[in-house]
């Protein structure tokens, strides 16, 4: 699973899901890849900042 931000409305027929532009979703890797930077460009991966280790 991958967290993505939707840039352009996409309706996924197989699941009947409408991904609206501006929203964020957890989607399958294949969907993220299909609509990612090297695909349609309709979705972009949201990078989750790595947690900083606590200083003791």
């Amino acid at each position: 699973m991958e967290k993505v931000k939707v840039n352009n409305d996409v309706f996924v027929e197989a699941t009947g899901t409408l991904y609206k532009a501006g929203t964020e979703h957890e989607v399958s890797d294949s969907l993220a890849k299909r609509h990612g930077k090297n695909g349609t460009g309709y979705m972009e991966t949201v990078k989750i900042a790595a947690e900083k280790p606590e200083k003791k």
């Binding site: 352009n8 409305d9 996409v10 309706f11 996924v12 027929e13 197989a14 699941t15 409408l18 294949s30 969907l31 299909r34 609509h35 349609t40 309709y42």
Partner: protein, 185 residues
Amino acid sequence: MADNVVGGIEKIEYAAASLTGVVATWKPMPNIAVGSVLMTKNVGTKSSINKEDGNRAYINLFAPAEGDTLTIGLLSQDPELVQELFEVDYVAATTMLEYYAEEKIARLALRITSIPMKDGRKCIITIYNNDVQTGYANNLTFDQVQQLALTASIGVYRKAGDTKDKVYTKQFVLADGTVIDSTTP
């Protein structure tokens, strides 16, 4: 699964023709005459070599067809569009169009959006490279209006990185224009 059908016209837009399949801005081509839009796919002419000792064709030969065509009838004569279609001088101050003797071949890209006919889907047909000739249709009578009769000869375009020519795209979208991902899981 939803069906993909192509039906009546919701709108037609135009822009300058593109040989690379890229158009940035489209302008509306309003007031389309009912039933006037016809897209014709020409197919190659077949000839056969028959066998003397049998009734079936031995070899079928196909001569390439002429390019595809699209016709559109417009009810209104918007000066901006008329300037694209005809060789004219336009004086906005007097709303006068002065037509030159020579015929103009307008080089336009055309985008046709169909109405949703079935399963809430419409089709967007984009033809990037058209040579458009324009004539008139209909008599000047009280129960008709003079139509601009556009005949577009559909040409080819080639996208960057492609090795083959293409003629048009057809994309099925939801009624509000949302892109459909039809990937089978």
